[in-house]
């Protein structure tokens, strides 16, 4: 997981999946903002196909996946998997083919956008390949089904490694491992054991273990107590959405997937929002902030800061806010306002 480094002045190629529904609109916003900020990125745009590519068993083509593997960095809008048999879900294809093992979601209260929680500044890191999402289920006898949760040392170690690496690289002080090892002694026990091993290599980062139910309660009472959280798949799914709720919802939360060989695929947390697609109503903030995460991964920290601040200022001013934040601005009005602030 060596950070991607680049000589200044060089143009970086990155893959862009505008995606479905509101995806193309908000991807357009990101492109506009990147242009204004003069980000030296050349996008390779890839669209989801209309036919299944037999090489991927999915509507995503082999070329699309190759593009991400080659560039090692990309931005993805929401993708809705067409319903039907004989193909894999788009998100699953990406995760499996690119080995996206960690999902990183920063959650920060936005200054000036009031929610019930004003002191959130945490990052959730979710193991993304195993656990309760193994897909291994069977019926034992009629009316009795079993579902397998798989925890491996390899996957636990690599997500823990990433969490501590992230904490260190981002000046964070503490990593909390979230678990239910009092009940699932062996599986969550193994996860904790791996976290402890990695923690020992980072004496400068504090390490603690928190039982997930207690974590839920503490998050809603005093989210300021957390810094970086690392956890198995299902807990990550639940906790990261809970945290998104604390700061104002799906329109605001970015995320980034870390894959094998240092791939970074940033994506907004929300879905394709078919109800508002094509109406110039979507909030592009989540995708813009995801793009900012991508820039930080590339160590374009100046550009990242400028865009990030412009987004925060626009929201804090409150003159241009999209409908999900209680405003009246369209996607393009909001985007223009962000560009003004750059």
């Amino acid at each position: 997981v060596a950070p991607f480094s680049t000589e200044s002045g060089e143009t970086i190629r990155a893959t862009l999946f505008p995606g479905d529904g509101i995806g193309p609109e908000i991807a357009e916003s990101v492109k506009q903002v990147f242009n204004v900020a003069g980000v030296p990125i050349e996008w390779e745009e890839h669209y989801v196909g209309t036919e299944v590519d037999p090489r991927t068993e999915s509507f995503l083509t082999w070329e699309s996946l190759e593009s991400v593997r080659r560039n090692k960095v990309g931005l993805k809008g929401p993708m809705a998997t067409p319903i039907g048999k004989g193909h894999r879900s788009l998100n699953l294809t990406l995760r499996k083919e690119l080995g996206l093992y960690a999902n990183v979601r920063p959650c920060n209260s936005l200054p000036g956008y009031k929610t019930r929680y004003d002191d959130v500044n945490l990052v959730t890191i979710r193991e993304n390949t195993e656990g309760e999402y193994s897909g291994l289920e069977h019926q034992v006898v009629r009316g009795v089904v079993e579902s397998l949760k798989i925890i491996t040392r390899q996957a636990s170690l690599r997500v823990a490694e990433y969490a501590f690496h992230y904490a260190k690289a981002n000046g964070r002080e503490r990593v909390s491992a979230i678990h239910k090892a009092n009940i699932m002694r062996k599986t969550d026990g193994l996860f904790l054991k791996c976290c402890r091993e990695v923690a020992a290599k980072y004496p400068e980062i504090q390490y603690e273990e928190v039982i997930i139910d207690n974590c839920c309660m503490t998050l809603v009472k005093n989210p300021g107590l957390f810094d970086v959280l690392v956890m198995p798949n299902l807990y990550g799914d639940i906790i990261s959405d809970l945290c998104a709720g604390l700061i104002g919802g799906l329109g605001l939360t970015p995320s980034c997937n870390i894959g094998e060989g240092g791939i970074c695929l940033a994506e907004a947390v929300h879905g394709s929002a078919p109800d508002i697609a094509g109406k110039n109503l979507a909030n592009p903030t989540a995708l813009m902030l995801s793009a900012v995460m991508m820039l930080r991964h590339l160590q374009f920290n100046d550009k990242a800061d400028r865009i990030h601040n412009a987004i925060l200022q626009t929201i804090a001013e409150g003159k241009y806010r999209t409908a999900d934040l209680g405003g009246k601005a369209s996607t393009s009005e909001f985007t223009n306002a962000v560009c003004e602030h750059i």
Partner: protein
């Protein structure tokens, strides 16, 4: 008017387990308040601690005899070889439903208002099956078991609860988009039961979205029914948004027995500080004992107790640290006794 049957006023025996940590403090409060009210109950007290290998048979026998128990938390040793005694009790007595009532208490401002959620959680299977093994070194599996039998009975309990308590909506919480068979079976069971209660609205929500909704629009929820693990998380989240462990009542119930305890984090026994300073909040367990009095069909005792507790919370001068006050358990208890009608 409650028209008792002749003999209904005879005192009933209740098994009492003070437990670990703050348990003795808060069960002590219950005992004192019951005494002050001359409530028709008397306690058979048993010393049980989380570090025992099993719940002593005499305790189980006592609950079997009395049918009703009230308890403090039993500490679960983390990482040890023993399993949680709280869980043993639930399994041994087949207390298949856990109920936590998460609602705003009048006069206690929290981040969210208008919350009144009852979380009903399957308590015996799911992720808590205890079936785990190492496949090869470095690879372990844990089995989540969902049965039609347990899913159906918890769904029935949830709808029956809603029906008997004039609740309007039941929300089933699941992750059936990923666990298609396991959570699928749970949902299928809920749907079947729902169809028999046309007067009660039924909806389904994926657990991650549900967590987000709980922290943004908790007013939308009424009764929630869940498999084991999700219920644990949902109940703790819901309890947290309206004030925390120290004030949420609850219990576990099965066909034959009922065990009342703090609703959320029942296994949480507080920290040394609150134990030493004797500052645990007794409100949760007092409200749980009001639930117990209702369960024993002593409705007016239940109402008196609940009214007194709510008065003390609302009035605000006797509150423990978790509610922003400085009172001790005893001071809150005395205030409750003084507020009894």
């Amino acid at each position: 008017t409650y028209m008792p049957r002749p003999g209904d006023g005879a005192p009933r025996a209740v098994t009492l387990i003070p437990g670990d940590g703050i348990g003795p403090l808060v069960t002590g409060a219950v005992r004192q308040v019951m005494e002050a009210m001359h409530a028709p109950v008397y306690f058979e007290t048993y010393d049980v601690h989380g570090d025992m290998p099993t719940v002593p048979p005499a305790v189980i026998d006592s609950i079997r005899r009395n049918k009703v128990c009230i308890k403090g938390g039993l500490a679960t040793p983390v990482g040890g070889g023993v399993s949680s005694l709280n869980m043993q009790l639930r399994k041994e007595l087949d207390l298949y439903a856990s109920l936590v009532h998460c609602s705003n208490l009048p006069g206690l401002p929290t981040r969210h208002q208008g919350v009144d959620i009852v979380v009903i959680r399957e308590n015996t299977e799911g992720e808590y099956s205890g079936l785990e093994h190492e496949v090869v070194p470095g690879v372990v599996e844990s089995l989540k078991v969902i049965t039609k039998f347990c899913s159906e009975r918890i769904a029935k309990y949830a709808f029956e609860y809603a029906y008997l308590n004039n609740r309007k909506k039941v929300t089933a919480v699941h992750k059936a988009n990923i666990m298609k068979l396991a959570d699928g079976l749970f949902l299928e069971s809920c749907r079947e039961v729902a169809s028999k209660y046309p007067g009660i609205q039924y909806n389904e929500m994926i657990v991650d979205n549900c967590s987000m909704q709980l922290v943004s629009k908790p007013e939308q929820f009424d009764v929630m029914v869940t498999p084991n693990l999700y219920g644990n998380l949902v109940a703790n989240t819901a309890a947290g948004i309206v004030g925390g462990t120290g004030i949420m009542p609850g219990g576990n119930v099965g066909q034959d027995y009922a065990v009342f305890e703090q609703g959320a984090s029942a296994g949480n026994v507080g920290n040394e500080n609150i134990v030493e300073q004797k500052k645990a909040n007794p409100v949760a367990l007092l409200l749980s004992s009001a639930m117990m009095l209702r369960h024993l069909q002593f409705p007016s005792f239940a109402d008196r107790l609940e009214t007194a507790v709510k008065r003390v919370v609302a009035e605000g001068t006797h509150r423990t640290k978790d509610l922003g006050g400085t009172s001790t358990t005893q001071e809150v208890t005395d205030a409750v006794i003084a507020s009894l009608d």
